[in-house]
């Protein structure tokens, strides 16, 4: 039994089905963008080994907490906060278009317009990107 090395990667994979965690969003974004793990890590400017830790973070809460949550998650996983916010927005739009999961099922325009926050994480740019992603996926 001492040979057994449990890995957070497996836990992160199991978490893909749990809507409250980042894992599902990361998977969705990867599929949308046809990225492998290496490319995802490069996009987020983090180490590939940190992806399971990121996957086990909770999804950022809506405004007014969105920006702060993104910054906390990004700091914990060593990722770029702006890229992370873009990823979350794009994946949420994809999710809304697919109609899953239930709790984030709302019109994409509302999703994009949800967070009008100070521009510290480039919220407006993020919203534009989310709308762009929405257009792309149509």
């Amino acid at each position: 039994m001492s040979e057994h090395n449990p890995s957070l990667k497996r836990l992160a994979e199991m978490a893909e089905a749990r809507p409250g965690l980042m894992s599902g969003l990361l998977m969705l974004f990867r599929r949308q963008e046809s990225m492998d793990e290496e490319q995802l890590a490069a996009f987020l400017e983090c180490d590939r080994g940190d992806l399971p830790r990121l996957a086990l973070c909770r999804r950022p809460r809506p405004a007014p907490r969105f920006r702060r949550d993104i910054e906390e998650i990004a700091a914990y996983a060593g990722a770029d906060p702006t890229r992370l916010a873009k990823l979350v927005r794009a994946a949420e739009v994809g999710e809304a278009l697919r109609g899953t999961p239930a709790e984030v099922r709302r019109p994409p325009m509302l999703l994009a317009a949800r967070d009008h926050e100070p521009p510290q994480v480039e919220a407006e740019q993020v919203a534009e990107d989310a709308e762009g992603a929405e257009d792309d996926s149509r």
Partner: protein, 213 residues
């Protein structure tokens, strides 16, 4: 309060919706929980514990806790104890699900249209499901003492457990047999040889049981 201050702080942060608290908790506890749930399972079973199943159970317990943190009461137990108990319960459920699956798989199937009885028997024998077939005739509780008697060697018993759990991966068997190194034809042949020997002995075990019954 039965939990440690560190556990209490994690719990409060998770209840409060802290976005990184669960990831930190998982990072902090996951390996310990797998180890301790494995120890608990081993202390309560004569059957060798399948650590892959333990890991899955611990994962489920952790993720369930994150989904419903309010179910944990720090006054009742430490968080580690709570999660090990939950994981052990999940492990037992996963294990019995596997066993039910094996039993269903081994249940006699009606002959296909146009298939003779001989062809059907050949098909069953060829599927190398001696252990599963045995499970249809002997309850799981009865089986293990017979297995222990028939397989005095510990590694053989571990092989039987892997077969019971429907494990197919050659590397899992190779590990039990102490065949280290990368997968090779030679390793696969050796695993097959031992599995065939075990399957033959299991078949005899079933026959002997039927004669006694």
């Amino acid at each position: 309060m039965k939990c440690t201050q560190e556990e209490y702080n994690f719990h409060q942060r998770i209840l409060g919706g802290d976005p990184v608290a669960f990831a930190e908790l998982a990072e902090r506890l996951y390996s310990d929980l797998v180890r301790e749930t494995g120890i608990r399972a081993r202390s309560r079973s004569t059957v060798t514990v399948e650590m892959d199943l333990i890991e899955e159970a611990v994962g489920q317990a952790l993720l369930d806790y994150n989904d419903h943190p309010q179910r944990y009461d720090p006054e009742q137990a430490s968080m580690k104890t709570y999660l090990v108990m939950a994981a052990y319960g999940d492990y037992l459920n996963l294990q019995s699900k596997e066993w039910r699956h094996l039993r269903r798989k081994a249940a006699p199937q009606p002959a296909k249209e146009g298939q003779s009885e001989g062809e059907r028997e050949w098909e069953i024998a060829d599927s190398r499901q001696d252990l599963e077939a045995l499970l249809t005739r002997i309850s799981a509780e009865e089986l293990w003492p017979l297995v222990e008697e028939a397989f005095p060697d510990h590694a053989d018993r571990q092989m039987v457990v892997l077969m019971m759990n429907g494990v197919r991966a050659t590397h899992s068997y190779a590990r039990v047999l102490g065949l280290s190194g990368p997968a090779s034809d030679e390793q696969a042949r050796e695993v097959k040889r031992v599995k065939d020997r075990i399957a033959k002995r299991l078949r005899r075990l079933g026959e002997a049981h039927d004669e006694r019954a």
